[in-house]
Amino acid sequence: MSADVNRGTAVRPGASGWRELWLKEDWWAIWIGLGIVLVAYILFVNGDSLKWIAVTPAKWSSFDQLAAHFSANILRYAVQLGLWIAIFTAATTILGHKPGAFIPSFILLYVISLIIFSVGQWDQANKYNLEPPLVALLVGMLISNLIGLPRWLDAGFRVEFYVKVGIVLLGATLPFTQIVWAGPIAILQASIVSIATFLVIFWTGRLLGLDKRLCATLGAGGAVCGVSAAIAIAGAVGAKKEDAPIAITTVILWAIVMIFVLPLVARALGLPTGVAGAWIGTSEFADAAGLAAAQSYGNLAGHVEGIAGTSDQAVFSFTLMKVVGRDVWIGIWAFVLAIIATTRWDAIETGQKPDAAQIWWRFPKFVIGFVIASAFITWATTQYSLADYNKTVVPVLVGPVKDLRTWAFIFCFLSIGLTTRFRELAHAGRKPFLAFSTGVVVNVVLGFILSAFVFASHWTNLTR
């Protein structure tokens, strides 16, 4: 029977209370992310650094160079792997996974990630479009769909967990002033696109004769935060058992298409990285998918002629748009739709009293870690001039955190591929797919207009 429901009636039905602090991945992402940032800071003020353990493959042009790098740094990689295993195993074991399944699975994930990371550091990688996020995704999908892995290995392929840890670490590399400066525009832009997308999907679905609860589940999947939004809204409105899998299939298919299409179109149009990141943040459907697309495009800066901006700008504008602009509102969407479902839609077998507290229960808590990490590092480094910051703080404090963030994202991108088994997805059906696709068109076009024209100067100048 259910393991994480609240027994008894003293606690409100939807709440986990304090148990959420150790029973939800969001909180573990905060503990791990902020823990790393705090250790990095303590080492920094004591004249030391996380640099040794935050090792990454170096740029190389021959296999001899690559071999020499690994030969010289094998101990650092071994200790880093040990660190990841220790912290992730502790977290996932408390969440309920078996360490005996998680550890071998994570070792496999780390080894493949290391190979992909190394390929991305080849000096000819850009020439052949070997962007690590895309390579990780493709390699993962090839393995899971053509070769196949034992099901128990899924224990280590935790897409959401790794992306949340990465986003908290990302906060430490983004000045808090940028969140304050760009946040309101991100919220405005994302709100316009989210509401338009939801309404288009919902009403197209209704015109096609789909059930209101399925339309709402699909609409939220397209408008807010993909699969996570779809299941949140399905739960809030009491959708049919098959509605959530239909939405999941539709979101996955479009999210994977967009990982490749959005950077490709942005490249063809020569969009600055900040603008492309904002567009991807508005028009992608899942955090992990969008980060893969944004990071791929950002990596082109400085390597492909005509693409202005920095790699970080793409990732920062994406994160602000997707996380601050869209994700944090899921609880409000759920509450409002629960009220509408209760008061306006056809009755179902079960009833509910919509509870405003779900705005907090469903809040993606990892965002708190992202904001705290940003505020903390900004506060801790205020006394440095820009020159000193770049010379002293970046290589010793921010750089290693950024390198660990890159690792977390590669684990995430590879896990997407390894967990996406197309033949196992539910059959979505023509009508739900059509309704969702109509919303995709509106979402992509509107997102492009707002990112590349209306707020273009805003996103181009992010972090400058």
């Binding site: 029977m1 259910s2 039905p13 991945e25 897409v159 699969v227 399905a234 899942a286 079960t350 469903r362």
Partner: protein, 77 residues
């Protein structure tokens, strides 16, 4: 149709909500096994799910605060 909803819903009791009903399953591992594709871009361990789960009686995916006339207390509730 709101009146109909209210009438039907009132046949259940809020005290006997889904969260403590034997027909309700919201174990994250179970949900990840049942909702195919969920782990590709999300997780049953995420905050956004709250404590939602599946009603095996009515084949609905819903929150633990729902209630209906078929409520049957789970063991230990």
């Amino acid at each position: 149709m709101g009146w109909l909803f209210t009438r039907q819903a009132s046949e259940g009791t809020e005290a006997g909500h889904c969260g403590i009903c034997r027909h309700f399953r919201n174990d994250p591992a179970y949900l990840e096994a049942v909702l195919k594709g969920l782990t590709s871009f999300s997780s049953a361990y995420a905050s956004v799910r709250g404590n939602d789960g599946l009603c095996t009686r009515h084949d609905r995916y819903l929150g633990p605060g729902f209630y209906c006339a078929d409520y049957s207390p789970a063991e230990g509730s």
